[in-house]
């Protein structure tokens, strides 16, 4: 973390960048927030630890409009999003000085609390630099420990790898966190009967409160105005009065980002109701991989996206029924 701060100071001092986009320490042990730093003085609050899960690439849309360059800290998975935004002309590469920061898996406070840990006072072991395999959590109700891996976000268990797809320089070591297959969850649902599938999604989606956090956090959902906010399709809906509407919203949202979604996992991270929204996006990714060849959005900036491409031999839609 100190290395990032030192570099940020240098870049600010020599005028390479006008500001730094990173994270600021919060008032609880686990709530750092995305923040801009414009002076050396402000950088005293800079923090980079296991709770810095937010994908900052989307902030670069606005930062690209600002005067001067922005030094942005991107984790390996965030760089895919940045590339995808670059491909869609939403961010300006020349306005970004990308520091690829290392990652040893990001922590999920919801998951920690789900394991019965409450009244948290301090957390040890969340620093990116230390080698701790266990979190030591001091609470009002006593000290608890938790293996680091048990506190990680879902997305870190199926990590795409710790390589930055785009960067100006890299700071910090990474640690491999992948210990599960990315499509296993999807395959499990695919294997269910239609009734089970329906019941599963019904119970998950009925929690949706249409707060739009998934959409607003999503780097692929970068529309100036979402179709669900405009009256272009007569689809503007602020809340669901019927269970159908969440389905419509989430299916169309997933469809609109199909072939563009990098599977960064922000949607699931930010959902206040813990809906596994990545299951929608990942289903499309799995289908695309299987039907049209492996494709990872954000891996590059010039390949044709699967939905703006075709081959003469593409599968017919009837394959859906045949795959069983």
């Amino acid at each position: 973390m100190q290395a990032i701060i030192n570099r940020a100071k240098e870049l600010l001092a020599d005028g390479t960048v006008a500001r730094v986009l990173g994270w600021k320490a919060g008032d609880l042990p686990y709530n750092p927030e995305p923040a801009y730093f414009e002076t050396e003085e402000e950088l005293k609050d800079f923090v980079y630890n296991g709770f810095c899960g937010a994908n900052l690439s989307k902030y670069m849309i606005e930062a690209s409009k600002l005067e001067g360059k922005t030094m942005v800290c991107l984790k390996p998975c965030d760089t895919y999003s940045f590339n995808q935004l670059l491909k869609e002309h939403r961010v300006d590469r020349d306005k970004a000085y990308i520091v690829g920061v290392g990652c040893k898996g990001k922590l999920d406070i919801e998951r920690i609390k789900k394991q019965g840990i409450k009244g948290i006072e301090s957390i040890e072991g969340a620093e990116i630099s230390d080698e701790a395999e266990t979190l030591k959590i001091q609470t009002i109700y006593g000290e608890k420990t938790l293996p680091y891996a048990d506190a990680m976000l879902e997305r870190c268990h199926v990590c795409k790898g710790k390589e930055h797809m785009v960067f100006d320089e890299q700071i910090g070591e990474s640690k491999e966190t992948k210990d599960a297959e990315r499509f296993d969850e999807v395959a499990k649902i695919e294997a269910m009967s239609p009734e089970e599938k329906f019941a599963f999604f019904q119970s998950e989606l009925s929690k949706c409160i249409r707060c739009n956090a998934c959409r607003n956090a999503c780097p692929a959902c970068s529309c100036r105005k979402c179709v669900f906010d405009s009256n272009k399709f007569d689809s503007s809906q602020k809340a669901n009065a019927d269970s159908f509407e969440e389905k419509m919203f989430h299916i169309i949202r997933a469809f609109h980002v199909a072939g563009r979604c990098t599977d960064c996992g922000e949607c699931s991270r930010v959902c206040p109701q813990g809906i596994p929204l990545h299951l929608f996006n990942r289903k499309f990714i799995k289908d695309i991989d299987e039907l049209y060849g492996e494709y990872q959005a954000g891996e590059d900036t010039d390949s044709k996206a699967p939905l703006t491409n075709y081959t003469f031999e593409d599968a017919e839609p009837s394959i859906v029924g045949k795959r069983g």
């Binding site: 009734e195 999604f201 689809s235 019927d242 159908f244 499309f284 075709y310 839609p317």
Partner: protein, 146 residues
């Protein structure tokens, strides 16, 4: 056709591209090839004009089946439209299957302007399928069912 449930009259929306399938439907008409009146056709310039939102919208408003017809791959009036449509619909249908919507409520069929017979056969078999599946309860808005 087996009409076990006499009460059930399905609503079926068919999107047909102007150049092939709509003409195929016209040919079915002028050849007096019958298919059930449950099918209502919407004319679009090309199958690539069919937005997945239209399909979900139809289900929302109470449709029991949605079918999309376009030119055969390679014959699109706009060269490539149906290739894009094919990918879009494949993914959409796969997603509907994934969330537990019965297979067969949606279909894509390529019907040329010369295939009046295929058009009516397709509609007959699709309607039959929808009758066998019964009312669409998983994808509709309850307010439209009242």
């Amino acid at each position: 056709m087996p009409l076990e449930n006499k009460e059930f009259k399905p609503k079926i929306v068919a999107f047909c591209c102007n150049w092939c399938s709509y003409a195929g439907a016209d040919l079915a008409g002028s050849s007096r090839l019958t298919y059930p009146a449950d099918v209502k056709i919407i004319r679009v310039p090309c199958s690539c004009r069919v937005n997945p939102m239209f399909i979900l919208r139809a289900f929302e408003k109470g449709a029991d089946g949605v079918i999309m017809c376009g030119c055969h791959p390679g014959d699109c009036h706009y060269s490539t439209g149906n290739y894009y449509a094919r990918r879009r619909m494949t993914l959409l249908f796969s997603m509907l299957d994934y969330i537990g919507v019965e297979n067969g409520r949606t279909r894509v069929e390529w019907v040329s302007a010369a295939e009046g017979v295929k058009f009516s056969d397709t509609m007959n078999s699709f309607v039959e399928k929808i009758y066998s599946l019964g009312e669409n309860v998983r994808l509709g808005d309850l307010r439209c069912k009242q």
